[in-house]
C-alpha cells in the first residue's frame, strides 16, 4: 500500500523567497501527525501544497501514490482541508454551503442536516454565514469535513476560535478519524491538546523540516 504522503526534496517559493525548502517526508496511511512551528515557518503552505492548492516549485510529492502536480484531481478526491478562514460562501446559509459540498462529493442531501446537528449548528442552518462568529464558521468547516469521503485530513489550526465545547468536537473528530484509519495532519500551536492524539510530531523552522531525529522523516 502506498504511503499517505511521500515528499522528496520539495520546495515552494513565493516570489524570490522559499517558504518551503528541501522537505523530504513519508507519512504512512492511518497516522496522526502534528505539524508545529513558529508563525511563518511554512505550516499552512505545506498543508496547501498537500491539498493541491499550491504547486511545488521544485521536487516531487505523492498522496496515496498520486502525483501532487500531474494527478492533482486524483489527489483531491482523497483529501479534505479544514482552513483557518473556514472556506464558506458568506452570502449563503450554512445549509446551502453544505448542500453544495454534498453535491460535489456525491453525498446524499440527507446527510446535510445530520452534519449540521453533529457540530451544534442544527438551529442556525438557515442563517447566512456572514452572520456567524469565527467559532461557528470553524464548526461549519468541520461539518463539511464530515461530508467528504476523504482518507487524508489536513487541519489548519483545528482548535483555533473554538470554545471548550467546540474543542471537544475536534477531540471527538480526531478520535473518530483514528478509529476509522484516516490519516490526519494538523498544523497547530495547541501543542498539548493536539499532542494527545498525535503519534508523531514534525517541526518546521524557516520552511525546513528539523532533522534532529532521522526517524522524524518517516512517520
Amino acid at each position: 500500500m502506498a504511503p499517505a504522503i511521500e515528499l522528496r526534496s520539495l520546495y515552494r517559493r513565493y516570489g524570490r523567497n522559499f517558504v518551503l525548502a528541501d522537505i523530504t517526508l513519508t507519512v504512512e496511511a492511518g497516522r496522526t501527525v502534528l505539524l508545529k512551528g513558529a508563525n511563518g515557518a511554512g505550516k499552512t503552505t505545506l498543508l496547501r501544497v498537500l491539498a493541491t492548492r499550491l504547486r511545488p516549485s521544485r521536487g516531487a510529492g505523492r498522496i496515496f501514490g498520486a502525483d501532487l502536480a500531474r494527478e492533482a484531481q486524483s489527489v483531491r478526491r482523497r483529501v479534505a482541508y479544514l482552513s483557518v478562514l473556514g472556506g464558506h460562501s458568506p452570502t449563503l446559509t450554512a445549509r446551502e454551503n453544505l448542500h453544495f459540498a454534498a453535491t460535489i462529493y456525491g453525498s446524499p442531501a440527507t446527510v446535510v442536516d445530520r452534519s449540521l446537528a453533529s457540530v451544534g449548528l442544527g438551529g442556525v442552518g438557515d442563517r447566512t454565514v456572514r452572520t456567524f462568529s469565527s467559532g461557528m464558521k470553524k464548526r461549519l468547516g468541520v461539518a463539511r469535513l464530515l461530508l467528504a469521503p476523504s482518507d487524508l485530513w489536513l487541519l489548519d489550526e483545528p482548535y483555533a476560535a473554538l470554545d471548550e465545547e467546540g474543542k471537544g468536537l475536534i477531540d471527538d473528530l480526531l478520535t473518530d478519524a483514528q478509529a476509522r484509519g484516516k490519516t490526519v495532519i494538523m498544523a497547530s500551536h495547541a501543542l498539548e491538546r493536539c499532542g494527545r492524539f498525535a503519534e508523531a510530531t514534525l517541526e518546521l523552522e524557516g520552511g525546513r523540516l528539523r532533522r534532529a531525529d532521522p526517524e522524524v522523516q518517516h512517520v
Binding site: 482552513s83 473556514g86 472556506g87 464558506h88 452570502t91 463539511r144
Partner: protein, 229 residues
C-alpha cells in the same frame, strides 16, 4: 458525479450568491440605467439621433455593468477562502469555469433584457419582426462578453490593482464581440434601410456565435493555468 451536475451546482451557487449580494445587483442596474439616461440626454431630443445611438448605448451600458459584475463574482468568495475551498475540491477546473460563466451570463442577459426594454420604451423604437433575432443577439453578445469577463476576472482576482487591471486586460479582447453585437443590434433596431431587416443581422450573428465558440474552447482549455498557484 457527472461534470454537468457539477457545472450546474457551481452555476446555481454563484447565481444565488449574486442575487444575495444585493449591492452588486443594485450597482449594476443603477449604473447601467444612469448610463442610458445620461447618454440619451447628451444626444438631445431628436428621435432619429436617439434611434441611431440606441445600439451603442445599450452595449456601452451592458459592458460597464458587466465588468462590475464579473469582478465581484470572485470577490464574494475570496474573502473567506471559499474560492480556495472550491479549487481543492474534486471538481474539474473546466466545470468551475463553465459554472461561473453560466451564472455571469444569466445575470448579464437578464440585465440586457431589462435595458433593452427600457431603451425600446424610452426611445420609442420599433421592434417589428426582429424581436427573436434581437433576443438571440443579446444572448450571444452577452455570452461572448461573459466568457472573457469570467476568464479575466479569475486572472486578476488575486491582484491588488484588480479593479483597474480587469477592464484594461479584457476590453481589447472583447472589442470584436462588442462590435459585432452593436452592428447586429443596429440592423434590428437602428433607423434607415436596415431597420427591421433580419436578413442583414445574420452575418453579424454568425460572427458572434463564431467568437463565442472560439472563446469557449480556448478559455475552458486554459482556465486551469489561470487559477493554479
Amino acid at each position: 458525479m457527472s461534470d454537468l451536475v457539477l457545472v450546474l451546482a457551481v452555476a446555481h451557487r454563484d447565481a444565488r450568491q449574486e442575487l444575495r449580494s444585493r449591492a452588486v445587483t443594485v450597482a449594476t442596474v443603477f449604473f447601467s440605467g444612469i448610463t442610458v439616461v445620461i447618454l440619451s440626454f447628451a444626444l438631445g431630443p431628436d428621435p432619429d439621433d436617439l434611434r441611431r445611438a440606441a445600439p451603442g448605448i445599450l452595449w456601452v451600458a451592458l459592458a460597464f455593468a458587466g465588468v462590475i459584475s464579473a469582478a465581484q463574482s470572485y470577490q464574494n468568495e475570496l474573502a473567506e477562502g471559499a474560492f480556495e475551498q472550491l479549487l481543492i475540491s474534486p471538481i474539474p477546473r473546466a466545470a468551475i469555469y463553465v459554472g461561473k460563466l453560466l451564472a455571469n451570463w444569466l445575470t448579464m442577459f437578464l440585465l440586457g433584457l431589462l435595458l433593452l426594454a427600457a431603451i425600446v420604451i424610452l426611445f420609442d423604437l420599433p421592434l417589428g419582426r426582429g424581436g427573436p433575432l434581437l433576443a438571440a443577439t443579446l444572448a450571444s453578445g452577452t455570452l461572448g462578453f461573459s466568457l472573457i469577463a469570467t476568464f479575466y476576472a479569475a486572472l486578476t482576482a488575486n491582484l491588488r490593482a484588480r479593479e483597474s487591471l480587469l477592464p484594461v486586460l479584457m476590453f481589447p479582447v472583447v472589442v470584436p464581440v462588442l462590435l459585432a453585437a452593436v452592428r447586429a443590434t443596429e440592423t434590428l433596431l437602428g433607423p434607415g434601410q436596415a431597420t427591421g431587416n433580419p436578413a442583414l443581422a445574420g452575418p453579424w450573428l454568425q460572427l458572434l456565435v463564431g467568437f463565442d465558440l472560439a472563446y469557449l474552447v480556448v478559455c475552458t482549455a486554459i482556465f486551469h493555468f489561470v487559477v493554479e498557484e
